[in-house]
Each structure stands twice: as C-alpha cells, then as structure tokens.
Amino acid sequence: MKTAHAIYEDGDHKWLAMVRDSSRPDFLIDTNEYLVISDGDALLLDPGGSEIFPAVFSAVSTGFDPRRIHKIFASHQDPDVISSLSMWLEFNPGIKCYLSWLWQSFVPHFAGQADTFVPIPDNGMDIVVGARRLQAIPAHYLHSSGNFHLYDPKAKILFSGDVGAALLPPAEDGLFVEDFDRHIRHAESFHRRWMGSDKAKRDWCARVSALDIDMLCPQHGAIYRGADVARFIDWFSRLDVGVLKG
C-alpha cells in the first residue's frame, strides 16, 4: 500500500506524491509517482510498472477522483516508468500519454493506440494541466536517449525522473532528503552507472540551474528541498558518470 502526500498546495493547484509501497515485493524497484492537479484536471507523472498499479491507483484515489486523470507524462520508456499504461488505459481508454517522440513506436508494445501518444519533440514542449502550463524539459541521455523532466514554474517543482534517484535502505527512506551528505551516498553509484553522458549531464545542469526550483522530485528515493536542490545539481555536475565500476 502506498500513501499519497500533498507536497504542494495552492488553492486548486496541487502536487501529490505517491510513495513507499510497503506491500511491494523486494524484486521490484521502489518508485515515486506524482500527480499534478489544477482546476479539476490532472496529469500523472511516471505512473510506474503494471505490478504496482493497484498501489498507485489506490493511493491516488484517496486524494483525487481518478476519472479526472486525462493525461500521463512518461519521462522515458522504462518498464518501471510506464508499463502500467495498459492498466490506466483499461480504466480510461481516452488517456493521452506524453512521451519523447523517440519512444512513440516502442511504448505501444506495453499498451495504447497511435492516438494515445502525444510525442514530445527533442527541445521539449508545454503541457497544459487545468489552469497551469507545465514545461517538458529536455534531459536526453540521463539516462534514456529520449528523456524529459517536467517543470511547474508556479509550484517551482521539477520532476526529474531518474536524475536524483537514490536507492534508500529502509531506515533512511523518508519522503524528503534530511541530511544531504548522508543521502547522496545512496545516489552515487546509481548516477555513475545509469547516467551515460558527461556532456548531457553538463547541459542539463546548466539548463536547470537557470530554473527557479524549490523541490526536485525524482522517480526513486527522496525529494530534495530548498538548498539541497542546488547542492544536488552541484554534486551531479562534478560526478564522473558513464562508468561501469567505482
């Protein structure tokens, strides 16, 4: 069972985080799902693998009417990101999935018809949710070759997919990063191994440094807040990525 936490709330503009599935078997990687709500409309970010659909759906529906989820954003093509699309489409066949054009003919192997997908061009695009206009921010090769993060300028939240991910031991799996130095040890080998391009990493760091970010929300692990956001970007910019060991 996952729980939904409101991490941002301003009138009818909300961010819910669905985290820490206690009933998830160990062989599945733990994931965070986020729901951006505005004006009764909602966008689900990286809805997760099909095996965790029961947990995500249940957690979402405690905080929001799931029939109002009309859009899904998939940062990239991985099974832990988007294989539950089959279940969401079963529930609502009209759902649109925003996804890099690169994966447009791959992800339908999980589910969906041609008109299910809204391809995101390489330089990104705006995605409207209710009264809010969110931005798909290019994050190619981090780790996927067609990869996007999602920025909400009003809430000042950046959903960062696998960037910022940490594989946390049970004792340190809080919703937010509390002790950056302690936390980042659980992120280091993941980023070294999964992030493939140093150039892409530098581009991304430059791009997001220009954004005003209060919260950086990864798909795995804990959320970075306040000064930890800049700390993370700085740490990442200096990390040696694309290495097999070490």
């Binding site: 029961p54 249940s58 529906s61 029939r67 279940m87 079963e90 529930f91």
Partner: protein, 207 residues
C-alpha cells in the same frame, strides 16, 4: 476447460497448443516423405508394367493422399497459429484481471467502487468475448483434427491394399512388398501422431 480465465489456465492452454504444433510439424515432415515414397512407387509400378497395374493405381492414390494430407496440415497449422494469438491475448487479459482484482481489494471508497464497476463490465464483455473466441478456435481445431484423422484412416487402407497388390507383382513382388510395407509403417506413425493430437484436445470439444 472452455476458456482460460487465470494465467495458469492460459499458460496450460498455450502449452497444449505448442504440443499440438509439435505434433503437426512431425506429421508435415512425414507427409512429405510419403509424397516421395509414392513417386518412387509410381516409377516402380511403371517398370513392373502389366504385373503391377493395381499397385500403380494405388500408388497414384497414395500420392494424392500425401498432397491432401499436406493441405490439411497447413490448415491445422493456421488454426494453431490463430489459437496462439488468442491465448496470448487471453494471457494479457488474465493479467489485467489479476491486477484489477488486487486493486479492488486494496482500494477504498470511490476508488474501490470504480474498479468494481470496471471489473464487472469486463466480466460481461471482454471475458465473455474471450470465451466465445476460444471455444470457436477449439471447435475449428477439433474438426480439422477429426477430418484429418479420417483422411489418415483412408491412407492406411490404401497402404494395406497396396500390400495385397504387391503380392501379385510377379518378379517385382519383393520390391513392391518392401515399398508397401514402408507405406504402412509411415502411415502408422502418422496415426499415432493423431492419437496424440486427439489426446491434447480440450475435453469438452473432443470430436
């Protein structure tokens, strides 16, 4: 089993179809062998001339039988291919059903009601459709197997008659006898394959 609703049942169904398919493959290669054997028999009968007229007629019949059998087997292969596609869809459906069931148990309030409604809609439409599709495919498979088994029966009668005719083959009698025994043995192999095929039928539609 009419239609698999659980993935265990669908998996069993898939393995059953694979067994049928393997059997079909072996019959197809045997049917090809019979075709060659029949051609040889026709040449032999021609050389034997007047003394092997009856044998010649039967060889022609056996060759036609081999062609018919190959055609029947192609039909069976199509039918099993269709079944694999349907069973694959069923496997997907049963996975969705299993996940919906888990969601129904886990969800509360409105979410539970929504999933319950979805599950019962699916039960009435999707699953009922699957039942029908699977039953239709199984019926088609059974009929094809029964028809082909009958054809093989005819082949076996032809082979026995060829053996009798071989006895009148004069100087060629020994070689004709050899050829017709080969026919009999090979068709016997095919008959055993069909016994296996019939065993792999779903019980409720065995012809």
């Amino acid at each position: 089993m009419a239609s698999p609703h659980s993935s265990a049942e669908a998996g069993r169904e898939l393995r059953r179809i694979v067994r049928i398919n393997e059997e079909i493959k072996s019959v197809v290669s045997t049917a090809f062998k019979i075709n060659l054997m029949a051609m040889n028999a026709i040449f032999l009968a021609k050389r034997a001339g007047q003394s092997a007229l009856g044998f010649g007629v039967l060889s022609n019949e056996l060759r036609r039988f081999a062609g018919d059998l190959q055609q029947q087997m192609a039909g069976l292969r199509d039918a099993t291919y269709g079944s694999v596609a349907t069973v694959t869809a069923l496997l997907n459906q049963s996975r969705i059903s299993r996940l919906l069931e888990r969601t129904r148990i886990e969800a509360q309030g409105e979410g539970k009601a929504l999933i319950q409604a979805l599950a019962s809609r699916r039960g009435e439409t999707t699953l009922a459709d699957n039942d029908q599709q699977m039953a239709a495919l199984n019926r088609r498979l059974s009929h094809l197997i029964a028809d082909t088994a009958q054809l093989v029966e005819l082949g076996s009668v032809l082979a026995r008659s060829a053996k009798i005719e071989a006895a009148y083959g004069g100087g060629f009698s020994t070689s004709l006898m050899q050829v017709s025994s080969d026919f009999e043995r090979t068709i016997g192999e095919i008959q055993r394959s069909f016994e296996n095929l019939t065993k792999n039928q779903p019980e409720d539609v065995v012809a």
